[in-house]
């Protein structure tokens, strides 16, 4: 029983990341009808927002401490981060320690701006072009973004540790020990997903967007500037992907190709959930995450060798062939 709970928990944190990325992908697809292969790159940029903030907070100046010497006998140089000298050592250290959660505030405006620029500057021109062209241009954009990050931050993974308070493990019940940060990640993902759904369900803006998803032309005919709202939704989707990346840093150290690694799986998740269905994307994200974690157990890998490597793809193939619209796809969306 404990083992089963542990596997479900293990699946939840990966599932949360899948669900968040797939949610953003589906938002973009459902509103703009664009297949965005650069979404993984947005996830990665989010993670590097956390890296940037961490570096900014650690900017420091050097002072010479005359009382101590280093191992060469020279006067010891002490590095003090600016934050510590401004706010005092205790508060400063805490701020640096909490850099990853703080990066959420830092990442939201950046991701929104990146989203707006991307939509207005590039994606806008691709509404009318075939899906293959959209895939190709966003694929190119993903390569460019990834290489820019690589040029600035190098190819090695960069550690972004969780705050002291939230690292370490928690004992949930006897025998089930689980890292705290993963629980935080899951709660965070649930919060974001809930927030997006509430935004779409309970605000006037969300209502217009949903109407636009159902029938863009009619909403336009009613005198509503639907394009502007869809641009905002693109920014929102970028922000969701970015936040997923920010918080994922402590689980896996960010590197420049993490976006591509997640992108392939997220697309599988979106297709399994049903193109254009938001609940489907979230459901499929969690289901596939949990399935993947169950497939990694020793029992599963000894019964069917290699199942942990291929389970997601296998499930995707079966679902696509038996349920053409995915788990919860709407009728009439990308059916061919």
């Amino acid at each position: 029983m404990d083992a089963i709970i542990l596997q479900i928990l293990n699946g939840l944190d990966k599932g949360s990341a899948y669900a968040l990325i797939a949610l953003g992908l589906t938002l973009i697809f459902g509103t703009l009808g664009v297949v965005n292969f650069a979404h993984g790159a947005l996830f990665m940029i989010g993670a590097f927002c956390a890296v940037t903030l961490q570096r900014l907070l650690n900017l420091s100046f050097e002072t010479i401490d005359p009382d101590k010497t280093d191992f060469l006998g020279q006067p010891l140089k002490v590095k003090t981060p600016y934050v510590e000298s401004w706010f005092g050592p205790d508060v400063g250290a805490t701020i640096i320690d909490w850099s990853v959660p703080l990066a959420i505030l830092f990442a939201i405006p950046i991701m929104l701006v990146i989203g707006f620029v991307m939509e207005r500057g590039l994606i806008k021109h691709f509404y009318k072009r075939p899906h293959a062209d959209q895939i190709l241009v966003t694929f190119g954009l993903a390569i460019v973004l990834q290489e820019i990050i690589k040029a600035n931050f190098g190819a090695n993974p960069i550690q972004t540790p969780a705050p002291e308070l939230l690292s370490g493990v928690a004992t949930l019940m006897d025998g089930v020990v689980y890292p705290v940060w993963r629980i935080v990640y899951f709660c965070f993902a649930a919060l974001i997903i809930g927030g997006v759904f509430a935004f779409l369900q309970f605000t006037t803006f969300g209502m217009v967007v949903r109407a636009g998803m159902a029938d863009r032309e009619t909403v336009g005919l009613l005198g509503i500037d639907i394009d502007r709202r869809f641009t905002i939704m693109f920014g929102l989707a970028a922000a969701v992907a970015g936040l997923a990346g920010v918080m994922y840093g402590p689980i896996n150290a960010p590197n420049y190709h993490m976006g591509m690694d997640f992108l392939v799986l997220s697309f599988v998740v979106v297709v399994v959930g049903g193109m254009g269905s938001l609940p489907g994307a979230v459901l499929a994200g969690f289901v596939l995450g949990i399935l993947e974690s169950f497939a990694s157990t020793t029992w599963a890998t000894t019964t069917i060798p290699g199942i942990n490597q291929i389970i997601i793809y296998l499930v995707a193939i079966i679902i696509l062939l038996t349920r053409p619209r995915g788990l919860m796809g709407r009728a009439g969306v990308m059916e061919d």
Binding site: H131, A132, D133, A142, G306, Q309, I310, A316, I317, M334
Partner: protein, 400 residues
């Protein structure tokens, strides 16, 4: 000639001439000059040009003609490589059986994957092929280690049986791949003044195979079968309404392009008897998509151009470093020189992928027909007068 019309014969002859004279054409700079690093005439790179050319020609038969965007084509290339290496291990070092086997196995593989994937189209087809390719990659890396030798990659050893050949040569080393005794590695150098040209047996074998593959592709493009594939691309619904089942045609195209990929994989293993799982990864599939689009999907010569261009960039651009740049811009005043180098720096050396990405985006945005369309536009610019005369007759749009 060969059942082609005049235009295609010219194209084939031009391509044949270019590939056969490639050792000269790709080595335009004397060996000692500063520009020698732009020479691409060494066997290893030339082989890669033609092998990836074959791969892209095959991909183009599927994507360019039917419009089905496969994101898992590298799987067939990987399977081809593995089968070729197994043939070298078990039968003999002659490349003919190895290449035949790799084409057959890749074809069978494509038949199975295509049969399943082609039940869907559009993005679903892309995702299905991607899923199959990633599955093959993951399996080759882990569970299938007895067949694929996992992370290390499949290599020849001295203990291999090689029924029709020898396990080891007289001096105790692993025998070399050959074509009835003609060793793939053998090469002769021709030195004319400051220039040096290398003629490699392996390259010419690859080049001849590519010319045959190119000829077959022309025949497919011009055949009624090719016409049917184009019809599928332009409007599959209408085709279905006329009561025609398009599946056998798309499946045939998929298998043919899979066999081309297998051929490329087999040749790759013949030139260097190694096979690794990373050849099947989805980034490798993405690369062939880049090549085809960059050159011009749906055109005959486009994919070959694209493949050549990407491989050239990969090998030549990535070699340029800051010192070389400083050498070039030494004539500038110091400050401006450093600035110029600093501006160019991110785009060369390790950053050539960035250049490739930007180039690719520009092509997709402004030149959906790729380099071939760019060439045509330039041609039209020069012969504008003639074009305006013809405009009236061309103005008739097909009914949509």
């Amino acid at each position: 000639m060969f059942g082609l019309d005049k235009k295609d014969t010219t194209l084939l002859l031009v391509v044949a001439l270019l590939t056969l004279l490639a050792p000269f054409i790709l080595n335009p700079f004397p060996t000692d000059s500063g520009l020698a690093q732009f020479n691409a005439g060494y066997p290893d790179l030339m082989q890669r040009f033609v092998i990836f050319g074959i791969f892209a020609i095959g991909f183009n038969i599927l994507f360019g003609l039917t419009g089905y965007l496969s994101f898992g084509h590298a799987a067939f290339l990987g399977v081809g490589s593995y089968s070729a290496v197994w043939m070298f291990k078990l039968l003999s070092m002659n490349i003919i059986p190895a290449i035949v086997l790799s084409v057959v196995i890749a074809g069978l593989f494509a038949l199975v994957i295509g049969y399943v994937s082609l039940r869907r189209s559009g993005i679903y087809f892309s995702i299905l092929t991607l899923a199959f390719a990633q599955m093959s990659f993951a399996l080759a890396y882990s569970v299938l280690t007895p067949i694929t030798n996992g992370e290390t990659g499949l290599q020849l050893t001295l203990e291999d049986p090689r029924i029709l050949g020898t396990s080891a040569t007289a001096d105790g080393s692993i025998p070399v791949t050959n074509l009835f005794g003609l060793e793939m590695r053998s090469a002769t150098d021709l030195v004319i003044g400051p220039w040096s040209f290398t003629f490699s047996a392996g390259y010419y074998v690859c080049a001849i195979v590519m010319l045959v593959a190119f000829y077959l592709a022309i025949r497919i493009f011009r055949s009624p079968f090719g016409m049917m594939l184009r019809a599928i691309k332009s409007n599959q619904n209408r085709l279905n309404y006329t009561g025609l089942n398009s599946r056998p045609y798309t499946l045939a195209a998929f298998v043919i392009s899979g066999m081309y990929a297998g051929l490329a994989g087999g040749l790759m293993a013949s030139m260097d008897p190694l096979a690794g799982a990373e050849r099947m990864q989805w980034t490798a599939s993405g690369e062939v998509v880049l090549m085809t689009i960059l050159g011009g999907a749906g055109t005959l010569i486009g994919p070959v151009l694209g493949a050549g261009m990407i491989k050239y960039f990969e090998n030549i651009f990535s070699k340029i470093n800051d010192n070389v740049l400083h050498g070039w811009f030494a004539w500038m005043p110091d400050g401006i020189e450093d600035l110029t180098v600093a501006i160019i720096h991110p785009f060369i050396g390790k950053g050539w992928h960035l250049t490739l990405g930007i180039l690719f985006m520009l092509v997709v945005i402004f030149l959906p027909g790729g380099l071939v369309e760019g060439g045509q536009r330039i041609m039209r610019l020069f012969s504008r007068k003639k074009a305006t005369k013809d405009d009236k007759s061309k103005a008739k749009q097909p009914a949509e």
